[in-house]
């Protein structure tokens, strides 16, 4: 019963955050002299109004589900994996390089091989941070941020120096049998970039749920996240758990990158910035409060906002930055969910006045007792 309530509570917070975000977006549009209703309608039709739009939304959500899961796994172990973007880039590079290296291999070997290459590359990249954290206590926040830059510039150098033809800024396109986009799906969705990667993402959701809830490793990861010292005292190998959590996290992020490489772009480009799926994956995971099913919904919501948002500036004169503000506002309210929780509790107080009052007075009482004791001790000393 209690667990159920918590889940509904989280859902409630996410939904309220989204609504407040849209509301802030509407207010900003009003202040800038644009029509929010019209723009939200064109956002909506731009996101679900045609098979093409739906295909694009799902394609946008596909890697976000994977990076979101990656963040959630690391977060359960108490780590803030900011390196998702770099790990995704490593996965993107590895999957495309693998596909380009064996242009004549049959599809049933090449495609799984390329996907696996992406997952392994992502895992190795985050494994570095996991290793440093487990054995030397190096903050994973700092190491993953720095590894992001290493990944970005190393990848660009490899693409430019080894994969690209001549002066180009992009690798050749991967062989047909390694592509996740197929003519069937293109036909189905009016030439959108929708690809089969969505199945991989959904499979990953089930695997991660099973891993975290039904296996010993999942239990250990959660235990380490709650209290590292207690877990060690209980006989768990915390070093092994930390590295495992980071490996799984990076593996999922690498898969997300492979989706971009094999599905969306079908090659690798010289990126001017880290791929946005890394940081958006963090937001997706936070919005979903770490629940695997919630991550699917949050990733689709991001897809709706991003793809639908492109339609706003096409259908009206509103600048596209407005959509970015709406998305940022949604994330802001998720981050500031304490405010929403607080307001929720306030509104509940009249019906259930007892517990909060008791909770508030108890610490106060404790402090008072301690103060009295201190005073007494002081007197004794004199």
């Amino acid at each position: 019963m209690r667990i159920k309530n918590i889940h509904l509570g989280n859902l409630w917070i996410s939904v309220t955050s989204v609504i407040l975000g849209l509301l802030v977006g509407a207010i900003i549009m009003l202040l800038s002299g644009f029509n929010p209703i019209e723009n939200y309608i064109s956002l909506f039709t731009g996101a679900v109004g045609s098979p093409n739009a739906i295909g694009e939304v799902l394609r946008e959500a596909t890697p976000l589900i994977l990076t979101g899961l990656g963040f959630a796994v690391a977060n359960s172990a108490g780590f803030f994996n900011i390196g998702l973007a770099g790990q995704a880039l490593a996965g993107w590079l590895a999957s495309v390089s693998f596909a380009l290296a064996f242009p004549h291999a049959p599809g049933f070997l090449l495609l799984p091989g390329a996907i696996l290459a992406g997952a392994i590359a992502g895992a190795l990249w985050s494994g570095i941070a996991g290793f440093l954290r487990a054995y030397f206590g190096a903050s994973e926040v700092i190491t993953t941020i720095m590894l992001n830059y290493v990944a970005l510039y190393a990848t660009n150098a490899i693409v430019k120096g080894m994969l690209a033809k001549g002066d180009g800024d992009y690798s050749p396109t991967i062989p047909v049998q390694a592509r996740l986009r197929t003519p069937f799906l293109e036909h189905l969705t009016q030439n959108s970039t929708f690809h089969w990667g969505i199945l991989i993402s959904l499979a990953a959701v089930i695997v991660v749920w099973w891993l975290m809830k039904k296996t010993t490793l999942g239990f250990e990861i959660r235990a380490v996240g709650m209290n590292e010292d207690a877990s060690r005292y209980a006989g768990m190998s915390t070093k092994r758990t930390i590295i495992s959590a980071m490996l799984i996290s990076g593996c999922l992020a690498g898969l997300g990158g492979a989706m971009e490489g094999l599905g969306n772009f079908q090659n690798i480009i010289v990126n001017t910035a880290l791929p946005s799926i890394g940081f958006d994956g963090m937001s997706v995971s936070l919005l979903a409060t770490g629940s695997p099913v919630g991550i699917v919904l949050a990733a689709i919501l991001f897809g709706l906002l991003k793809i639908g948002g492109l339609n706003i500036s096409i259908a009206s004169t509103t600048p596209p930055e407005i959509v970015d503000i709406v998305i940022a506002a949604v994330i802001f309210f998720v981050g500031a969910n304490y405010i929403i929780r607080y307001l929720g509790i306030k509104l509940h107080r009249p019906s259930k006045p007892q517990p909060p009052v008791a909770a508030n007075t108890a610490p106060q009482a404790a402090v008072d007792t301690r103060a009295e004791q201190a005073a007494e001790e002081g007197e004794d000393n004199q």
């Binding site: 929010p36 019209e38 030439n191």
Partner: protein
């Protein structure tokens, strides 16, 4: 009980939201529902907005000028732009424009090459234009610019202006296009005086003004007094660095793609020496006109150089002697007496 309370609250907030939104809709006008005109046109940016004071903005100004000339409105059926926030937005943006039935779609920048190629394959009835790259398809017109010729003149201007015999070049990202700028600039400087040193630095990004500012500060501190920036949004940082340095000593910036005189204004005058102007606007306007006149050059590559007035150097704040030299060299390039290199590797050491 508890649960229903929460949902009640959420519903209340949602209703509040709706009513607020509803209030807002009253005052503002509904969108202009233009009739679908035969020759509507739109462009897709290569990252960043149409206010980048550079490449995308120039393309958009051309399209705006064309739209106004033809009495069209911004929006579906007229002229419009789609902003790409990342490279993943290229294809969705192009598809959205196709679905909105724009007849001609401009891809501003070489980065859109593969997205335009795929879209052109799938949509043979739509006209596409790619700027700064070449696509060989019947429904795609390619536009390239001889940026190296404009950059050569910038080199001449810098060489004629520098007092310290040291000038700088800040590029956005290595690649075929910026290579042309670097090669032309270095050749132009050397044509005037072989002893002037050219310090070449790359920001590796077109949208990081902070990096541009740091690079420029280092150059000015190294006594380089003229910097040519070919770095898009990153170049804005070069202007901020110059505005700080001008308090101590005389420094100049050479602008790129658009006439960037306005960016060089400071309390004591203007520090934009001159700008190489890339006629993206001219090309966009011309091609949109061609479609209107049923004369779309599909499958062809149009090259704009000094001769075609597709690239040029503005007079800006050049002194008479420098301007004279620029014009001399310009004539020699147009006459084919000087051939400007396209790659730094082609330059004589």
């Amino acid at each position: 009980m508890k649960i229903s309370h929460k949902f009640g609250l959420a519903a209340a907030i949602a209703v509040m939201g709706l009513s607020l939104v509803a209030c807002g809709s009253k005052g503002s006008s509904s969108s202009a529902s233009n009739k679908t005109v035969k020759y509507s046109a739109a462009l897709v940016t290569d990252g960043g907005g149409v206010d980048d004071k550079s490449f995308n903005q120039s393309g958009w100004e051309g399209l705006e000028a064309w739209g106004k000339k033809n009495g069209l409105k911004k929006g579906v059926g007229g002229y419009n732009y789609a902003q790409s926030n990342s490279d993943a937005d290229f294809t969705p943006n192009i598809n959205k424009l196709i679905q909105a039935k724009y007849k001609t779609i401009f891809g501003i920048g070489y980065k859109l090459e593969s997205a335009i190629t795929n879209a052109a394959k799938a949509n043979p009835k739509t006209n596409f234009v790619i700027i700064d790259d070449v696509i060989n398809r019947k429904n795609v017109a390619s536009v390239t610019f001889k940026d190296n010729e404009g950059a050569f003149l910038a080199g001449v201007a810098a060489a004629k202006t520098t007092k310290t015999k040291k000038v700088g070049f800040i590029g956005g990202q290595h690649g075929a296009v910026i290579d042309r700028f670097e090669a032309g600039f270095r050749q132009g400087v050397a044509a005037v005086d072989k002893n002037i040193s050219v310090d070449v630095k790359y920001a590796n990004d077109f949208s990081k003004p902070d990096v541009g500012q740091a690079l420029a500060n280092a150059m000015y501190n190294n006594n380089e007094d003229v910097i040519y920036q070919a770095a898009g949004g990153t170049g804005m940082g070069v202007f901020s660095a110059a505005k700080n340095q001008i308090k101590k000593k005389k420094v100049w910036v050479i602008g790129v793609d658009r006439d960037q005189t306005a960016e060089g204004k400071y309390s004591g005058g203007n520090l934009t020496l001159t700008s190489t102007v890339k006629g993206v606007d001219i090309a966009v306007e011309k091609l949109a006109d061609d479609v209107k006149n049923n004369d779309f050059p599909g499958g062809k590559t149009i090259t704009y150089g000094l001769k075609e007035k597709g690239v040029k150097l503005v007079k800006g704040n050049l002194d008479a002697a420098a301007w004279k030299a620029v014009q001399d060299y310009q004539q020699q390039i147009i006459d084919g007496k000087i051939k400007v290199a396209e790659k730094p590797s082609q330059l004589k050491k």
